[in-house]
Amino acid sequence: MSPAIEVTDLRYRYHDGTEALRGITFSIERGDCVGLLGPNGSGKSTLLLHLNGILPEKARNTGHVRIMGEAVTAESLERVRRRVGLLFQDPDDQLFCATVEEDVAFGPRQLGLPEEEVQQRARDALARVGLRDYGHRATHHLSQGEKRRACLAGVLTCKPDILVLDEPTSGLDPRGRREFKTLLREIHATRLIATHDLELVVELCPRSIILDQGQIIADGPTRELLNDEELMLAHGLERPHILRHIHPH
Protein backbone atom coordinates (compact mmCIF):
# COMPACT_ATOMS: atom_id res chain seq x y z
CA MET A 1 0.00 0.00 0.00
CA SER A 2 1.38 3.43 -0.90
CA PRO A 3 2.19 5.77 1.98
CA ALA A 4 -0.29 8.47 3.02
CA ILE A 5 2.16 11.27 2.30
CA GLU A 6 5.22 10.99 0.11
CA VAL A 7 7.39 14.04 -0.54
CA THR A 8 10.42 13.76 -2.82
CA ASP A 9 13.11 16.44 -3.15
CA LEU A 10 10.63 19.31 -2.76
CA ARG A 11 12.03 22.79 -3.35
CA TYR A 12 10.14 26.08 -3.17
CA ARG A 13 11.07 29.70 -3.65
CA TYR A 14 8.94 32.69 -2.63
CA HIS A 15 8.26 35.66 -4.95
CA ASP A 16 11.16 37.57 -3.43
CA GLY A 17 13.57 34.74 -4.17
CA THR A 18 13.81 33.44 -0.59
CA GLU A 19 14.34 29.69 -0.61
CA ALA A 20 11.71 28.34 1.75
CA LEU A 21 12.14 24.63 1.08
CA ARG A 22 15.44 23.17 -0.01
CA GLY A 23 15.08 19.55 -1.03
CA ILE A 24 12.62 17.96 1.39
CA THR A 25 12.17 14.19 1.26
CA PHE A 26 10.11 12.09 3.64
CA SER A 27 7.11 9.80 3.74
CA ILE A 28 4.42 9.04 6.29
CA GLU A 29 2.59 5.72 6.49
CA ARG A 30 -1.18 5.58 6.78
CA GLY A 31 -2.53 6.01 10.28
CA ASP A 32 0.72 7.44 11.68
CA CYS A 33 0.93 10.57 13.80
CA VAL A 34 4.06 12.62 13.12
CA GLY A 35 5.32 15.84 14.70
CA LEU A 36 6.91 18.56 12.57
CA LEU A 37 9.27 20.69 14.63
CA GLY A 38 11.50 23.63 13.90
CA PRO A 39 12.12 27.29 14.72
CA ASN A 40 9.97 30.12 13.36
CA GLY A 41 10.51 30.63 9.66
CA SER A 42 11.96 27.16 9.13
CA GLY A 43 9.44 26.37 6.40
CA LYS A 44 6.90 24.31 8.36
CA SER A 45 3.80 26.19 7.20
CA THR A 46 5.08 26.36 3.62
CA LEU A 47 5.56 22.61 3.62
CA LEU A 48 2.05 22.05 4.98
CA LEU A 49 0.49 24.23 2.26
CA HIS A 50 2.14 21.99 -0.35
CA LEU A 51 0.43 18.89 1.04
CA ASN A 52 -2.99 20.34 0.20
CA GLY A 53 -1.97 21.76 -3.15
CA ILE A 54 -2.39 25.40 -2.02
CA LEU A 55 1.21 26.03 -2.99
CA PRO A 56 2.61 26.23 -5.57
CA GLU A 57 0.37 28.48 -7.58
CA LYS A 58 3.05 28.81 -10.24
CA ALA A 59 5.90 26.63 -11.36
CA ARG A 60 8.40 27.89 -8.84
CA ASN A 61 9.00 24.51 -7.29
CA THR A 62 10.50 21.21 -8.21
CA GLY A 63 10.01 17.80 -6.67
CA HIS A 64 6.93 15.74 -6.04
CA VAL A 65 4.20 15.44 -3.47
CA ARG A 66 2.10 12.28 -3.50
CA ILE A 67 -1.01 11.84 -1.39
CA MET A 68 -2.14 8.20 -0.97
CA GLY A 69 -0.02 7.38 -3.99
CA GLU A 70 -1.50 10.11 -6.20
CA ALA A 71 0.70 12.99 -7.39
CA VAL A 72 -0.59 16.49 -6.57
CA THR A 73 -1.30 18.13 -9.94
CA ALA A 74 -3.89 20.56 -11.25
CA GLU A 75 -6.05 17.60 -12.31
CA SER A 76 -5.89 15.74 -8.99
CA LEU A 77 -6.32 18.85 -6.84
CA GLU A 78 -9.95 18.26 -5.96
CA ARG A 79 -9.36 14.67 -4.84
CA VAL A 80 -6.26 15.72 -2.90
CA ARG A 81 -8.10 18.46 -1.04
CA ARG A 82 -10.86 16.04 -0.20
CA ARG A 83 -8.31 13.67 1.30
CA VAL A 84 -6.18 16.20 3.16
CA GLY A 85 -7.79 18.34 5.86
CA LEU A 86 -5.76 21.43 6.69
CA LEU A 87 -6.11 23.26 10.00
CA PHE A 88 -4.69 26.78 9.71
CA GLN A 89 -2.71 28.61 12.34
CA ASP A 90 -5.11 31.54 12.87
CA PRO A 91 -8.69 30.34 13.45
CA ASP A 92 -10.01 33.68 12.21
CA ASP A 93 -8.61 32.90 8.77
CA GLN A 94 -10.40 29.60 8.68
CA LEU A 95 -13.77 30.58 10.13
CA PHE A 96 -14.89 32.75 7.24
CA CYS A 97 -18.65 32.24 7.59
CA ALA A 98 -20.95 34.22 9.85
CA THR A 99 -22.25 31.33 11.97
CA VAL A 100 -20.59 28.16 13.24
CA GLU A 101 -23.09 25.93 11.47
CA GLU A 102 -22.53 27.58 8.08
CA ASP A 103 -18.80 27.31 8.49
CA VAL A 104 -18.77 23.68 9.52
CA ALA A 105 -21.07 22.84 6.59
CA PHE A 106 -18.93 24.74 4.07
CA GLY A 107 -16.74 21.79 3.01
CA PRO A 108 -19.55 19.24 2.46
CA ARG A 109 -21.59 21.89 0.59
CA GLN A 110 -18.62 22.49 -1.72
CA LEU A 111 -18.51 18.73 -2.30
CA GLY A 112 -22.11 19.00 -3.54
CA LEU A 113 -23.54 16.56 -0.99
CA PRO A 114 -27.32 16.50 -0.44
CA GLU A 115 -28.44 19.04 2.17
CA GLU A 116 -29.63 16.35 4.57
CA GLU A 117 -26.22 14.72 4.70
CA VAL A 118 -24.53 18.12 5.00
CA GLN A 119 -26.62 18.85 8.09
CA GLN A 120 -26.00 15.41 9.55
CA ARG A 121 -22.24 15.69 9.05
CA ALA A 122 -22.19 19.17 10.58
CA ARG A 123 -24.12 17.98 13.62
CA ASP A 124 -21.84 14.97 14.07
CA ALA A 125 -18.67 17.03 13.74
CA LEU A 126 -19.89 19.68 16.18
CA ALA A 127 -20.83 16.98 18.71
CA ARG A 128 -17.43 15.36 18.25
CA VAL A 129 -15.54 18.54 19.16
CA GLY A 130 -17.90 19.33 22.03
CA LEU A 131 -19.76 22.24 20.40
CA ARG A 132 -23.14 20.55 20.13
CA ASP A 133 -25.31 23.63 20.76
CA TYR A 134 -23.05 26.17 19.08
CA GLY A 135 -24.49 25.90 15.57
CA HIS A 136 -26.24 29.27 15.59
CA ARG A 137 -23.50 31.20 17.37
CA ALA A 138 -21.69 33.94 15.47
CA THR A 139 -18.12 32.85 14.73
CA HIS A 140 -16.61 36.15 15.86
CA HIS A 141 -18.13 35.78 19.33
CA LEU A 142 -16.43 32.48 20.15
CA SER A 143 -13.50 32.18 22.54
CA GLN A 144 -10.11 31.21 21.13
CA GLY A 145 -10.52 27.59 22.23
CA GLU A 146 -14.02 27.37 20.79
CA LYS A 147 -12.83 28.89 17.53
CA ARG A 148 -10.10 26.29 17.26
CA ARG A 149 -12.56 23.46 17.88
CA ALA A 150 -15.02 24.91 15.35
CA CYS A 151 -12.16 24.94 12.80
CA LEU A 152 -11.44 21.29 13.52
CA ALA A 153 -15.14 20.46 13.10
CA GLY A 154 -15.09 22.25 9.73
CA VAL A 155 -12.22 20.04 8.61
CA LEU A 156 -13.68 16.82 10.04
CA THR A 157 -16.97 17.26 8.15
CA CYS A 158 -15.05 16.65 4.91
CA LYS A 159 -13.96 13.25 6.36
CA PRO A 160 -10.30 13.56 5.35
CA ASP A 161 -7.90 10.58 5.40
CA ILE A 162 -5.05 12.87 6.39
CA LEU A 163 -5.13 15.71 8.89
CA VAL A 164 -2.48 18.40 8.63
CA LEU A 165 -2.35 20.81 11.56
CA ASP A 166 -0.44 24.09 11.78
CA GLU A 167 0.28 24.96 15.42
CA PRO A 168 -3.04 23.61 16.71
CA THR A 169 -2.44 24.56 20.36
CA SER A 170 -0.94 28.05 20.01
CA GLY A 171 -2.91 30.74 21.82
CA LEU A 172 -4.89 28.26 23.92
CA ASP A 173 -5.07 28.25 27.71
CA PRO A 174 -3.97 25.05 29.53
CA ARG A 175 -7.49 23.68 29.64
CA GLY A 176 -8.03 24.44 25.95
CA ARG A 177 -4.74 22.74 25.15
CA ARG A 178 -5.63 19.67 27.17
CA GLU A 179 -9.04 19.38 25.54
CA PHE A 180 -7.65 19.84 22.05
CA LYS A 181 -4.96 17.25 22.70
CA THR A 182 -7.63 14.73 23.74
CA LEU A 183 -9.56 15.48 20.56
CA LEU A 184 -6.50 14.94 18.39
CA ARG A 185 -5.74 11.66 20.12
CA GLU A 186 -9.22 10.35 19.33
CA ILE A 187 -8.96 11.04 15.59
CA HIS A 188 -7.71 8.04 13.69
CA ALA A 189 -6.67 9.69 10.45
CA THR A 190 -3.01 10.07 9.47
CA ARG A 191 -1.81 13.20 11.28
CA LEU A 192 1.04 15.61 10.68
CA ILE A 193 1.30 18.24 13.41
CA ALA A 194 3.54 21.29 13.02
CA THR A 195 4.02 22.79 16.46
CA HIS A 196 6.22 24.38 19.11
CA ASP A 197 4.28 22.49 21.78
CA LEU A 198 6.88 19.83 22.52
CA GLU A 199 4.79 18.15 25.21
CA LEU A 200 2.03 17.62 22.69
CA VAL A 201 4.51 15.96 20.34
CA VAL A 202 5.89 13.71 23.09
CA GLU A 203 2.41 12.60 24.04
CA LEU A 204 0.88 12.16 20.58
CA CYS A 205 3.58 11.55 18.01
CA PRO A 206 5.85 8.50 18.14
CA ARG A 207 7.88 10.01 15.29
CA SER A 208 9.12 13.55 14.63
CA ILE A 209 10.72 15.48 11.81
CA ILE A 210 12.90 18.49 12.55
CA LEU A 211 13.01 21.21 9.93
CA ASP A 212 15.39 24.16 9.85
CA GLN A 213 16.11 26.64 7.06
CA GLY A 214 14.03 24.62 4.64
CA GLN A 215 15.87 21.37 5.20
CA ILE A 216 15.16 18.22 7.18
CA ILE A 217 17.72 18.08 9.98
CA ALA A 218 16.52 14.95 11.70
CA ASP A 219 13.77 12.36 11.33
CA GLY A 220 13.23 9.63 13.91
CA PRO A 221 11.61 8.51 17.15
CA THR A 222 10.35 11.59 19.03
CA ARG A 223 11.83 10.73 22.43
CA GLU A 224 15.23 10.00 20.95
CA LEU A 225 15.35 13.31 19.07
CA LEU A 226 13.96 15.44 21.87
CA ASN A 227 16.33 13.91 24.40
CA ASP A 228 19.28 15.04 22.28
CA GLU A 229 19.83 18.38 23.99
CA GLU A 230 22.57 19.50 21.63
CA LEU A 231 20.39 18.91 18.57
CA MET A 232 17.41 20.65 20.16
CA LEU A 233 19.33 23.78 21.13
CA ALA A 234 21.04 24.02 17.76
CA HIS A 235 17.68 24.36 16.04
CA GLY A 236 15.79 26.76 18.27
CA LEU A 237 14.15 24.02 20.32
CA GLU A 238 14.71 22.60 23.79
CA ARG A 239 14.51 19.35 25.67
CA PRO A 240 10.96 19.38 27.09
CA HIS A 241 10.48 19.09 30.83
CA ILE A 242 8.19 16.16 30.43
CA LEU A 243 11.16 14.04 29.25
CA ARG A 244 13.30 15.01 32.23
CA HIS A 245 10.80 13.31 34.51
CA ILE A 246 10.44 10.09 32.55
CA HIS A 247 13.17 7.52 33.06
CA PRO A 248 13.89 5.22 30.15
CA HIS A 249 14.46 2.19 32.38
Binding site: L49, R81, D93, A98, F106, G107, Q110, T139, H140
Partner: protein, 203 residues
Protein backbone atom coordinates in the same frame (compact mmCIF):
# COMPACT_ATOMS: atom_id res chain seq x y z
CA UNK B 1 -19.44 59.20 19.72
CA UNK B 2 -20.28 55.66 20.73
CA UNK B 3 -19.29 53.05 18.19
CA UNK B 4 -21.94 50.43 18.74
CA UNK B 5 -21.88 47.79 16.03
CA UNK B 6 -24.62 48.00 13.45
CA UNK B 7 -25.83 44.54 14.46
CA UNK B 8 -26.52 45.71 18.02
CA UNK B 9 -30.18 46.44 17.27
CA UNK B 10 -30.99 43.80 14.67
CA UNK B 11 -32.19 41.27 17.23
CA UNK B 12 -34.55 43.53 19.18
CA UNK B 13 -38.28 43.08 18.96
CA UNK B 14 -40.80 45.45 17.34
CA UNK B 15 -43.32 45.44 14.50
CA UNK B 16 -40.58 46.57 12.14
CA UNK B 17 -38.27 43.79 13.33
CA UNK B 18 -41.01 41.19 12.99
CA UNK B 19 -41.85 42.15 9.41
CA UNK B 20 -40.77 39.50 6.91
CA UNK B 21 -37.29 40.42 5.64
CA UNK B 22 -38.24 39.97 1.98
CA UNK B 23 -41.28 42.24 2.36
CA UNK B 24 -39.18 44.81 4.20
CA UNK B 25 -36.48 44.79 1.54
CA UNK B 26 -39.03 45.01 -1.27
CA UNK B 27 -40.78 47.97 0.41
CA UNK B 28 -37.50 49.80 0.95
CA UNK B 29 -36.45 49.17 -2.64
CA UNK B 30 -39.78 50.42 -4.00
CA UNK B 31 -39.65 53.49 -1.78
CA UNK B 32 -36.10 54.33 -2.85
CA UNK B 33 -36.92 53.82 -6.51
CA UNK B 34 -40.04 55.99 -6.30
CA UNK B 35 -38.16 58.72 -4.42
CA UNK B 36 -35.31 58.69 -6.91
CA UNK B 37 -37.70 59.01 -9.85
CA UNK B 38 -40.09 61.53 -8.26
CA UNK B 39 -40.04 64.99 -9.87
CA UNK B 40 -38.39 67.81 -7.89
CA UNK B 41 -41.57 69.72 -7.12
CA UNK B 42 -43.30 66.80 -5.36
CA UNK B 43 -42.54 68.24 -1.95
CA UNK B 44 -45.50 66.46 -0.38
CA UNK B 45 -44.13 63.08 -1.51
CA UNK B 46 -40.75 63.74 0.14
CA UNK B 47 -42.45 64.90 3.31
CA UNK B 48 -44.64 61.80 3.36
CA UNK B 49 -41.69 59.42 2.88
CA UNK B 50 -39.76 61.26 5.57
CA UNK B 51 -42.71 61.00 7.96
CA UNK B 52 -43.15 57.30 7.19
CA UNK B 53 -39.47 56.48 7.73
CA UNK B 54 -39.21 58.54 10.91
CA UNK B 55 -42.38 56.93 12.21
CA UNK B 56 -41.03 53.45 11.45
CA UNK B 57 -37.75 54.33 13.18
CA UNK B 58 -39.64 55.44 16.29
CA UNK B 59 -41.75 52.27 16.27
CA UNK B 60 -38.65 50.09 15.85
CA UNK B 61 -37.21 51.56 19.08
CA UNK B 62 -33.77 51.99 17.54
CA UNK B 63 -32.45 55.07 19.37
CA UNK B 64 -32.89 58.18 17.20
CA UNK B 65 -29.51 59.41 18.36
CA UNK B 66 -27.88 56.34 16.87
CA UNK B 67 -29.67 56.79 13.53
CA UNK B 68 -28.63 60.45 13.39
CA UNK B 69 -25.03 59.51 14.18
CA UNK B 70 -25.02 57.05 11.31
CA UNK B 71 -26.55 59.65 8.98
CA UNK B 72 -23.90 62.16 9.98
CA UNK B 73 -21.22 59.57 9.32
CA UNK B 74 -22.63 59.08 5.83
CA UNK B 75 -23.43 62.75 5.24
CA UNK B 76 -20.17 63.51 3.38
CA UNK B 77 -21.49 61.29 0.60
CA UNK B 78 -24.81 63.15 0.47
CA UNK B 79 -23.04 66.50 0.52
CA UNK B 80 -20.58 65.42 -2.16
CA UNK B 81 -23.41 64.34 -4.44
CA UNK B 82 -25.26 67.60 -3.78
CA UNK B 83 -22.09 69.64 -4.36
CA UNK B 84 -21.39 67.95 -7.66
CA UNK B 85 -24.93 68.80 -8.66
CA UNK B 86 -24.73 72.39 -7.42
CA UNK B 87 -21.67 73.16 -9.56
CA UNK B 88 -22.63 71.13 -12.57
CA UNK B 89 -22.84 73.45 -15.62
CA UNK B 90 -25.99 71.97 -16.99
CA UNK B 91 -28.22 71.71 -13.92
CA UNK B 92 -31.61 70.14 -14.22
CA UNK B 93 -32.37 69.40 -10.56
CA UNK B 94 -31.64 71.83 -7.73
CA UNK B 95 -29.07 70.47 -5.24
CA UNK B 96 -31.59 70.60 -2.39
CA UNK B 97 -33.73 68.02 -4.17
CA UNK B 98 -30.73 65.76 -4.78
CA UNK B 99 -29.74 66.04 -1.12
CA UNK B 100 -33.29 65.24 0.00
CA UNK B 101 -33.47 62.21 -2.29
CA UNK B 102 -30.12 60.84 -1.05
CA UNK B 103 -31.06 61.47 2.57
CA UNK B 104 -34.36 59.63 2.28
CA UNK B 105 -32.76 56.70 0.46
CA UNK B 106 -30.05 56.44 3.11
CA UNK B 107 -32.62 56.57 5.86
CA UNK B 108 -34.57 53.72 4.26
CA UNK B 109 -31.41 51.59 3.90
CA UNK B 110 -30.36 52.34 7.47
CA UNK B 111 -33.73 51.37 8.83
CA UNK B 112 -33.75 48.04 7.00
CA UNK B 113 -30.18 47.14 7.97
CA UNK B 114 -30.71 48.17 11.58
CA UNK B 115 -33.80 46.02 12.01
CA UNK B 116 -32.85 42.93 9.97
CA UNK B 117 -30.00 40.51 10.80
CA UNK B 118 -27.43 40.64 8.01
CA UNK B 119 -27.72 36.91 7.33
CA UNK B 120 -31.44 37.32 6.64
CA UNK B 121 -30.78 40.14 4.16
CA UNK B 122 -28.30 37.90 2.33
CA UNK B 123 -30.86 35.07 2.24
CA UNK B 124 -33.39 37.37 0.58
CA UNK B 125 -30.81 38.59 -1.94
CA UNK B 126 -29.86 34.98 -2.69
CA UNK B 127 -33.50 34.16 -3.38
CA UNK B 128 -33.77 37.28 -5.55
CA UNK B 129 -31.01 35.75 -7.71
CA UNK B 130 -28.39 38.38 -6.95
CA UNK B 131 -25.06 36.98 -8.32
CA UNK B 132 -23.52 34.50 -5.85
CA UNK B 133 -20.09 36.12 -6.05
CA UNK B 134 -21.50 39.45 -4.88
CA UNK B 135 -23.28 37.76 -1.96
CA UNK B 136 -20.12 35.88 -0.96
CA UNK B 137 -18.16 39.14 -1.07
CA UNK B 138 -20.73 40.86 1.14
CA UNK B 139 -20.82 37.94 3.59
CA UNK B 140 -17.01 37.93 3.86
CA UNK B 141 -16.92 41.69 4.28
CA UNK B 142 -19.43 41.49 7.11
CA UNK B 143 -17.54 38.63 8.77
CA UNK B 144 -14.15 40.37 8.68
CA UNK B 145 -15.32 43.86 9.59
CA UNK B 146 -15.28 42.70 13.21
CA UNK B 147 -11.84 41.18 12.93
CA UNK B 148 -10.54 44.34 11.28
CA UNK B 149 -12.18 46.59 13.88
CA UNK B 150 -10.63 44.56 16.70
CA UNK B 151 -7.27 44.66 15.01
CA UNK B 152 -7.36 48.41 14.48
CA UNK B 153 -8.37 48.94 18.09
CA UNK B 154 -5.47 46.81 19.32
CA UNK B 155 -3.04 48.67 17.07
CA UNK B 156 -4.38 52.05 18.11
CA UNK B 157 -4.00 51.06 21.77
CA UNK B 158 -0.47 49.75 21.28
CA UNK B 159 0.51 53.00 19.61
CA UNK B 160 -1.06 55.10 22.33
CA UNK B 161 0.72 53.15 25.05
CA UNK B 162 3.99 54.40 23.59
CA UNK B 163 2.77 57.93 22.90
CA UNK B 164 3.96 59.91 25.89
CA UNK B 165 3.21 63.50 25.10
CA UNK B 166 0.26 65.01 23.33
CA UNK B 167 1.58 66.76 20.28
CA UNK B 168 -0.25 68.61 17.60
CA UNK B 169 -1.25 66.48 14.70
CA UNK B 170 -0.16 63.26 16.38
CA UNK B 171 -3.65 61.78 16.10
CA UNK B 172 -3.68 62.23 12.35
CA UNK B 173 -0.23 60.74 11.94
CA UNK B 174 -1.11 57.78 14.16
CA UNK B 175 -4.32 57.14 12.31
CA UNK B 176 -2.61 57.34 8.96
CA UNK B 177 -0.05 54.75 9.92
CA UNK B 178 -2.69 52.51 11.50
CA UNK B 179 -4.78 52.71 8.33
CA UNK B 180 -1.86 51.83 6.09
CA UNK B 181 -0.82 48.96 8.38
CA UNK B 182 -4.40 47.70 8.45
CA UNK B 183 -4.48 47.72 4.69
CA UNK B 184 -1.34 45.60 4.48
CA UNK B 185 -2.58 43.18 7.13
CA UNK B 186 -6.01 42.94 5.54
CA UNK B 187 -4.57 42.00 2.18
CA UNK B 188 -2.32 39.39 3.79
CA UNK B 189 -5.28 38.01 5.67
CA UNK B 190 -7.34 37.94 2.48
CA UNK B 191 -4.72 35.68 0.95
CA UNK B 192 -4.78 33.33 3.93
CA UNK B 193 -8.59 33.22 3.91
CA UNK B 194 -8.56 32.35 0.22
CA UNK B 195 -6.11 29.52 0.96
CA UNK B 196 -8.38 28.29 3.74
CA UNK B 197 -11.37 28.38 1.39
CA UNK B 198 -9.48 26.45 -1.28
CA UNK B 199 -8.38 23.88 1.30
CA UNK B 200 -12.01 23.08 1.90
CA UNK B 201 -12.90 22.75 -1.74
CA UNK B 202 -13.85 26.30 -2.82
CA UNK B 203 -14.05 26.48 -6.60
Amino acid sequence: MSWLPHSHFTHSDSIVHRMRPDVKLACAFALILATALAPGHWTAWYAAVFALLTGATLVSRVPLKFVIQRLLLLSPFILAIAAVNAFHPDVRTPWQVVAAKSLLSLLAVLLVTLTTPFGKILQVLRRAKVPALLITTMALMHRYLFVLADESERMQRARLSRTFRKRKGIWWRLSASVVSQLFVRASQRAERIYDAMCARGWK
